[in-house]
Subunit: 329 residues, 2 copies
């Protein structure tokens, strides 16, 4: 199934079921008003939602359906119980350690790194990104993520994979000038992580077919900055799978239905794949060419992200297409 | 005004207005079903809630009111949009740097340290605390906190004080064996911070009279571990006031109504005040006596926390009284 959320001024927005080809959508207020509500009552709503989805893909569009407009969408979950973002592509972690000029953390290859992000105010796929200053080092981070059902404390990585309900595509906005200080405090990212953005469509894992395999989203993430190719790293190189990330998050506490777990920046060992964030390109430039040449984003800049199949066909999440703007005080 | 939340199985619980003397309470479903809802519609509900509060304090208890039972309470906000915990008592920060054997972070005296905690699954004042292992170094942290209204990005510390809607008393459960690794990653606390607990009663700042002054809760926090005195540090020694903490949190993003900002462990320079967490006592023992003698909590142990006025009278938040238990897998 494919879901989106119409921005309607409410905190959780209006749940939409979206057709397989992302062309049509329908609201289902009698089944569930919002995607968060559906996550919280999944056993009761899963069947009825599947029926609507099947009808939406039939030859005759059902009454009440309309053309799907990603620009009218909020994040699939405009707010979530938790937003926990890993750094599961160790290629990226190792490069970033060089960028921050710090030794690799202990156990970096065996224990996932993960930070707790704000989850009350996510951005939609085409929302402007208001930020206070270009001097903060404005950067995007292309990621994949999952939405969980309820997860018991102490879940195993294998059992945790069974808690995955939906897959997501994410732009984890970052302010690189603020990160190093917050890392040095040991308390983690806070000002360095403004509101995170999401592609319009959340999908059940079966929608990916063989591209959901080994607990990883096996798609390339095409990233363009101001219309130019920036990278298209492949999600299959994730060093920890999503079950491992969920189990890490639930080691000392349970998770409630609707929690979002992110992969961290998609990153490949092959230089030809490019990068999914500017910071990584900058450190590669430093390593390969002696100095960082690429600057961070300016107000007015745009970033576009879209997952694609190995044959280049568009993936199921739709497109993130955002512009950075100067926040008005 | 004084508010509490009856645990009724729903995610946000049932809002109660509590009498000034904490003896009686009344549900107000026609005004607001939950405290989170009241925070989100504060301008509309503040007056009607004040009317109910005034009636509750009148000589004749209004129809529908009942004896207030803290043990039936959830946290005042069982879930909140964000939970951001500072470390605003620098006496504690400086001691803890010694405990973690690390140099003080840069700008520690001028920039508050703050981590983002999980906010989807708080514990009530008398809830058992299920944890997986005594080996994790189970510890309490007695704190004060505030609930904010909507806070714009870039708010000044002075304007941020005007965003304070409610005051809280908090027990920020911590697992000390897991903290140092998570600090070393730079990504901050996650497994080291299981679900946080709250005293039953949230109060508007006017309830404290002169004990809400300079953006600080000017009360002592009495802490008992298994019935024995552990400390009673005073909230007035907070090095950053709550307006500064809120402004720090909102530097690069707005906050939505209902966010909770914590003070970090209440801590005083005078050794005679004792401590509000075991980790601090342990490092004081190490400094003053050459080694840490006090161990962390065992399953079955209890902690009790209550704010008191300078004359020893109970403060307005009620009592946190919790027992640590072994989480069942």
């Amino acid at each position: 199934m494919k879901f989106a959320t119409l921005a309607n001024g409410s905190l959780d927005g209006q749940l939409l079921v979206v057709s397989r080809d992302l062309q049509r959508a329908i609201a289902v207020p009698r089944i569930a008003p919002s995607l968060l509500d559906a996550m919280q009552r999944w056993a009761a709503v899963q069947g009825p939602l599947q029926d609507v989805y099947d009808q939406l893909d039939a030859a005759t569009a059902p009454e009440g359906s309309f053309a799907f407009d990603p620009a009218a969408c909020a994040a699939p979950l405009p707010r979530a119980p938790q937003w926990l973002d890993g750094s599961a592509f160790l290629n990226h972690s190792h490069l970033m350690d060089q960028a921050f000029n710090k030794p690799p953390p202990p156990m970096v290859d065996t224990v996932p790194m993960m930070y707790q992000g704000a989850s009350d105010d996510f951005l939609g796929p085409c929302d402007d990104v208001p930020l206070p200053s270009e001097a903060d080092g404005i950067d995007f981070e292309g990621e994949f993520g999952v939405v969980t059902g309820p997860v018991p404390m102490g879940v195993t990585p294998e059992a945790a994979l069974g808690c995955v309900r939906l897959l997501l595509q994410i732009n984890d906005w970052s302010l690189r000038a603020l990160g190093p200080h917050e890392m040095k405090t040991g308390f983690g990212f806070l000002q360095a992580k403004p509101s995170t953005a999401f592609a319009p469509v959340a999908v059940t894992p079966d929608e990916l077919g063989p591209a959901w395999r080994d607990g990883r989203v096996q798609l390339r993430l095409q990233v363009q900055w101001n219309g130019e190719r920036f990278g298209e790293p492949h999600g299959g190189e994730m060093s920890f799978h999503f079950g491992q990330l969920i189990a890490h998050a639930a080691r000392t506490r349970r998770l409630t239905a609707g929690c979002i777990i992110g992969s961290g920046t998609v990153s490949n060992a092959a230089r030809s794949a490019g990068s999914a964030c500017i910071a990584e390109r900058r450190v590669i430039e430093k390593i390969d060419q002696g100095e960082s040449r690429t600057g961070f984003m300016r107000f007015g800049d745009r970033v576009r992200m879209q997952a694609v199949l190995d044959d280049g066909q568009p993936g199921p999440f739709g497109v993130i297409d955002q512009r950075v703007v100067h926040a008005q005080p």
